[in-house]
């Protein structure tokens, strides 16, 4: 049974294994080993029998092949209505076949399944809202990714990503020491501009526990400083945990359910330890989905809720603006046409569409909706891990076209995108298609527009 040294059915639980994977440039050896990787068909079938519950089994059986899901899929539209991009076809020809064949599938088939699961579906779940039976292919592909992962058929970057969560409890190699030091650093760097600015670590019973995306401490810690400035401006009693600060889950994109549980329990552990009144998640869509929506189930919490009330950053912003904790200078509102990227994970799949509109009503003079929008908005083109996988770069770039057209049709050149994935996709879109658009998180814009309370005004 040829298990590779890099590509195999093992999870990445040690730094050594993780470093070996990282050293394999672009996964060359990894993918070459994958071509010889055996499928453990008995394990696969056993796993399906115990985890493929009635909802998914029913969905597979009742699909009427009506094709209503086709136009719902941005990848179908972006690929000139290629029939092999119809969601129902994509899931029937992969998960449907595996079930039909009772798990008796070979290596070549599994590689096709992997390529389909990660390059033809971003799990944006848009198709589910157009299917007359409510069949959600995004949910089914999420499940299928789990099956693929357990058999070792997972894209190289996501094997690494899930390994990062297992080893560092973060999607990148940021240790607790790195994180705490970065918080100190940012408070030092910005305290001259904002008197009294602090990033309190491990403060118990705070009103807010704030959690982030590991890319912030790793590459752009300004984002943490900006969050601190806005909390400070709003007079919030807040904290960050030293452990359990990472909100994201590449493990969810990878289908590594064990690592998903580990990661989310780390965050819930911080909630138990620090007993905050609420948790606020940074401007990240999938992080919110992983920790607030899916996480409770991974952690076995029967009521389906995190241990403390948890809200997305946009909910906090809307509240701060609504209650006057943060006041916008009317003269500094965004004057140019501006549009908003509805992230699938917290708009379509968590219902925060009105919150986003409320924010725009406070900060923009010429807000332009994309068409379609809100829960019907298209995926940015980079969701579900699509942005980060070299193997599917071309397919991702083709997929970006739908979002690009939507943005250009608004006439706006500025896109507000409170989601790391969407933000990345829109940045890459500009790099690939040179459309002359700009993109931003909410935080830097809010800081520019807000009226600082008198005690925070600094003489320059």
């Amino acid at each position: 049974m040829p298990e590779g040294t890099l590509c195999n059915k093992q999870t990445v639980d040690t730094k050594e294994y993780l470093n070996a994977l990282l050293a394999d440039k672009s996964g060359k050896q990894y993918y070459s080993e994958m071509e010889k990787l055996d499928v453990d068909t008995d394990k696969l079938w056993k796993s399906i029998k115990s985890t493929l519950r009635s909802r998914l089994r029913t969905w597979l059986e009742i699909c009427a092949h009506c094709g209503m899901c086709a136009d719902a899929c941005f990848l179908y539209l972006a690929n000139d209505r290629d029939p092999t991009q119809v969601p129902s076809y994509k899931i029937q020809s992969t998960l449907g076949e595996i079930v039909k064949r009772k798990g008796k599938v070979n290596n070549e088939f599994m590689r096709m399944v992997m390529d389909t699961a990660w390059s033809k579906c971003t799990c944006c779940c848009r198709c589910g809202s157009f299917c007359p039976f409510g069949i959600d292919m995004g949910i089914m592909f999420g499940y299928l990714r789990g099956l693929c992962f357990s058999q070792g058929f997972v894209p190289w970057e996501l094997k690494i990503g899930s390994g990062m969560h297992r080893v560092y409890k973060a999607q990148m190699d940021v240790t607790v020491e790195d994180w705490v030091d970065t918080c100190e650093w940012m408070a030092e760097e910005y305290e001259d501009d904002w008197p009294g600015l602090a990033i309190p670590v491990d403060k118990e019973n705070a009103d807010i526990m704030y959690t982030v995306n590991a890319r912030e401490p790793k590459h752009y810690p300004e984002d943490i400083a900006e969050a601190a400035i806005l909390f400070h401006m709003a007079g919030e009693n807040w904290t960050v945990p030293s452990k359990g600060w990472e909100e994201t889950s590449l493990a969810m994109f990878a289908g590594d359910w064990g690592a998903c549980k580990m990661q989310v329990e780390e965050v819930y552990g911080a909630m138990h330890r620090l007993k905050p009144k609420r948790m606020v998640v940074t401007e990240c869509g999938h992080a919110y989905r992983a920790t607030v929506i899916e996480g409770p189930y991974w952690a076995g919490l029967k009521d389906g809720r995190p241990p403390v009330e948890s809200i997305h950053y946009v909910e906090w912003v809307a509240e701060a603006l609504r209650t006057g904790k943060i006041k916008i200078d009317p003269a500094k509102k965004i004057k140019e046409p501006v549009t908003y990227q509805d992230s699938c994970n917290y708009i379509r799949n968590a219902g925060l569409k009105n919150v986003a509109r409320e924010i725009m009503s406070y900060i923009a003079e010429d807000f332009r909706e994309m068409t379609p929008n809100r829960e019907h908005n298209f995926c940015c083109g980079g969701g579900g891990g699509f942005n980060g996988m070299g193997r599917y770069r071309e397919q991702r770039n083709v997929g970006l076209k739908v979002k690009l057209d939507q943005i250009l049709d608004t006439g706006a050149k500025l896109v507000i995108s409170p989601c790391h994935n969407c933000w990345d996709a829109i940045r890459d879109m500009e790099e690939v298609y040179h459309a002359g658009i700009r993109w931003s998180f909410l935080k830097p814009l809010l800081i520019k527009m807000a009226i600082p309370p008198d005690h925070l005004k600094v003489e320059e």
Binding site: L22, A23, K25, S26, E157, I160, G161, Q171, M172, W185, E189, D192, D193, R215, K218, H219, Y220, P221, E222, L250, G382, G385, N387, G388, M389, G390, R393, H420, N421, D424, R427, D428, E431, R438, P444, K448, V458, E459, E460
Partner: protein, 305 residues
């Protein structure tokens, strides 16, 4: 004067002028020279791919790759390194301003040397992640003076005999004054020229001041200079003071030319690194681009320290 100099380099011709000054200074003051090269900018979402700033290629950066780039840097600066007794090379991945600041936080240098503004946001690997240019962001947050060298003429660092201090009366300007005075006082025979350029705003707006108003303001500024700076010269005698009106960066560059300045010391006072302003160029960046001598930026943090 300087014991540890951090030189942020792209290891390409864009940084040659700054390199000349950095090596020259390290030699002159017998300082440790820390060459920091941000070799790749992270791209592709969460992936470990980065865009190599020299080749433009997408690469996975590991220790082998870093070692290779380090060798490249040694080759690029081979001549200068031959004469440099004490140096180290640090290669890293990230956004340039952040990694330079990170390295500075770890090593606590007493001077950072950077090349002048480049077209770095126009399609090169140094894609914008936060508003503002590398120069602005480093100048704003560094805990030590930042020396910026843009034009070739600015890189011929001979003896320093004339220092121009561009005063704007801010807190950062107080720190810049102290630093300028320290430099001038440490060099026998060096002159210190205290200069304030009064912004009279764009004439074409029709909001221009009357000549009486301008002269009043000049008198006021001269009074401030006497009070804030001249009173604190502590016996240093080779100084002059001037206040000119006009477009500040133009006036500073003109004044420095007249005084044959070898160095301009200015304060980085604003907390705004707005994207649009950055594109147009701040006053500081305009001076750096136009000046025939190096410019040292001193920020408010140094006033505190």
């Amino acid at each position: 004067m300087f014991k540890d100099i951090l030189f942020g380099t792209s290891a390409s011709p864009a940084g040659d002028y700054a390199a000349r000054v950095a090596f020259e200074l390290a030699g002159r003051f017998d300082a440790h020279l820390r060459l920091v090269h941000v070799l790749g900018v992270p791209s592709r979402g969460f992936s470990y791919l980065a865009e190599d700033v020299r080749t433009g290629e997408q690469v996975v950066i590991d220790d082998d790759y870093k070692a290779w780039v380090e060798e490249e840097i040694k080759t690029y600066y081979a001549k200068q390194l031959e004469k440099c007794n004490d140096y180290s090379i640090h290669v890293c991945v990230g956004h340039p301003h952040r990694e330079i600041l990170r390295e500075a936080r770890n090593s606590n240098p007493d001077l950072i040397v950077l090349g002048g503004p480049t077209e770095e946001n126009e399609g090169s690997a140094y894609k914008k992640i936060v508003a503002g240019s590398t120069i602005q962001l480093v100048s704003k947050s560094a805990l030590c003076p930042v020396l910026l060298v843009s034009r070739p003429a600015a890189s011929f660092w001979g003896g320093i005999s004339s220092v121009v201090f561009g005063a704007d009366f801010s807190k950062a300007s107080d720190a810049a004054f102290k630093f300028a005075k320290k430099v001038a006082a440490s060099i026998p025979g060096c002159e210190l020229h205290i200069f304030h350029a009064m912004d009279i705003g764009p004439v074409h707006t029709g909001l221009s001041l009357s000549q009486e108003e301008i002269e009043d303001k000049i008198r006021e500024a001269r009074k401030k200079i006497r009070h804030k700076y001249v009173a604190n010269l502590e016996g240093f005698e080779k100084y002059s003071m001037e206040v000119w009106e006009g477009l500040p960066y133009v006036e500073i560059v003109k004044f420095a030319r007249e005084k044959q300045a070898d160095l301009i010391v200015m304060a980085y006072s604003t907390k705004d690194v707005d994207a649009e302003n950055a594109r147009l160029g701040s006053n500081m960046e305009q001076v750096i681009m136009r000046s025939t001598c190096p410019v040292i930026s001193v920020n408010r943090k140094m006033a505190k320290n």
